[in-house]
Symmetry: C2
Subunit: 300 residues, 2 copies
């Protein structure tokens, strides 16, 4: 396979809340797109932008050497790639699947091995940066898989992200995403705990953010989620149910590699408290409401 460049045809499967804006950025960058999605209506806009619809992954794979998947979980990726009407049944030797979903590193390595038997490569390339980053094409992309193959698909990744890091062999992108989520989850809980303590101590939490954000306590979470927590704005950027899923993958992987994670485990329980309340589609910053309740402060 040669270096992927604008004008080439790419297959895109999974037009969800992230996949839709990502596929739009590929079109805008000049790629031809063939698309498929479980629910066809989700494709209306991208078809208007010039993409073409195909009825199944296998059909799509017959016409493309490079396919992107952006799906909900390991099972969905396994089905779309290896299933009866899956990509693997249609793709040519030398083809590349770029899986940008966040799934289990173990599942990634297994799928990569199966594709390898067909001389097809899997690049794992999960993202962070949320819907805003997907729209702006400014996602962070953490990449695992064969480095030479990765180099060939960089132009496609650059249409979707601004910060692309090659991490190592198959699964390394997924593992890096999990490390990222560990830091997000623990720090988000720490910020919430600190802001509730501040409130209970009679401080103005907004002034606390001002006083602390420039120093050793400074973080993306404090600066961006802190003000939302204080306002009780729990609308999603990143949903609780997706954090729950990601922390499940962290837990599974930590079991595989035998890595004890005291802080992440605790964080996990607090997101679960939100799940228990039926707040799975709230933004993760709603963790603030759990800690407020723990402090017997009136709910927002």
């Amino acid at each position: 396979m040669d270096l992927v460049k604008p004008g080439d045809t790419i297959g895109f499967i999974g037009l969800g809340i992230m996949g839709k804006p990502m596929s739009e950025n590929l079109i805008k960058a000049g790629f031809n797109l063939l698309v498929h999605n479980r629910t066809r209506t989700r494709a209306d806009e991208i078809l208007e932008m010039g993409a073409q619809w195909r009825d199944s992954p296998i059909q799509l794979a017959r016409e493309c050497d490079v396919l992107v998947t952006m799906l909900s979980d390991s099972l969905a990726v396994r089905d779309v790639v290896l299933g009866e009407k899956g990509i693997s049944k249609g793709i040519s030797k030398g083809g590349v699947v770029i899986d940008m979903s966040t799934i289990s590193p173990k599942a990634t390595m297994e799928i990569s091995e199966k594709l390898g038997e067909l001389n097809v490569s899997l690049i794992d390339a999960p993202v962070s940066g949320g819907v805003a980053g997907a729209r702006q094409g400014s996602l962070s992309i953490m990449v695992g898989g064969d480095e030479d193959v990765f180099q060939l698909v960089v132009p496609a990744l650059e249409a979707m992200g601004s910060d692309i890091t090659y991490m190592g062999g198959s699964g390394s992108g997924q593992k890096t995403k999990l490390v990222n989520q560990i830091m997000v989850a623990v720090n988000q809980n720490g910020v919430a705990e600190a802001l509730v303590f501040a409130e209970k101590a009679g401080l103005d939490p907004n002034k606390v953010i001002e006083a602390c954000k420039g120093g050793g306590a400074g973080s993306f979470q404090l600066q961006n989620q802190g003000p939302r927590m204080i306002e009780g704005d729990y609308s999603p950027g990143f949903m609780v149910k997706h954090m729950e899923k990601d922390l499940g993958l962290v837990s599974e992987t930590s079991e595989d590699i035998i890595s004890p994670l005291p802080f992440t485990s605790l964080a996990s329980q607090f997101y679960r408290a939100l799940m228990a309340e039926g707040k799975s589609e709230y933004g993760t910053q709603a963790i603030h409401s759990v800690i407020r309740r723990l402090n017997s402060i009136e709910p927002n």
Copy 2:
């Protein structure tokens, strides 16, 4: 009292690792300094810069309307301010004590009340930014006490810090410092846990920092302490024993205001593990070594 300005005389008590560079910045800004310290030799350099020595807090207080204290703990501040040869025995009505130590908010409020009976004001103004910030005059200063009095001493604070936030009544500066330490402690542990997980998962932790620092996982701790953790550079910026002390104050205050702190409590136990190993004078980033050992990775 009038607005404090260069040329005025300020008393400075406590020439420790932080107090020494802070007092030097007052001299450089043009203030006349009278100094006192438990160990006189610590004053050699500041005396060469033009400060004058006094043998006790009471002597010093007789000649100054504004005094700065930078001491190790609540007991030391209480003794220097209210003790037999303390500031309160020599200071004139209308005088101001600026306590820049990190001590208990409760002790601060008690000392403030005692001084109030003598018509003397206490401003609590703890700092963050460590020795580097103290040297560069770029400390963050979190201020509590009477706002009008605070305004009168701003020029002195500006000689030592670049980021000065008035937080509210007496003790509010100390409370804000505690909130700051909660966020530092929890996030530092989260970063360490994530980097050790990365290491155990076979990733290059340096690449992980590169891939994650610009997104939702980004923080001062990741960017500044992360690389030190990876190198096993546990030299102090901020010492474990000082974090232990600060988290003790957090615990005491959380008991007073009845605020449960699950993440901070857990963080506290990990710093205590460092204390148990005799590493009280290591930098707090040594928490990384505790989590590595928990993962049965060889010590650095």
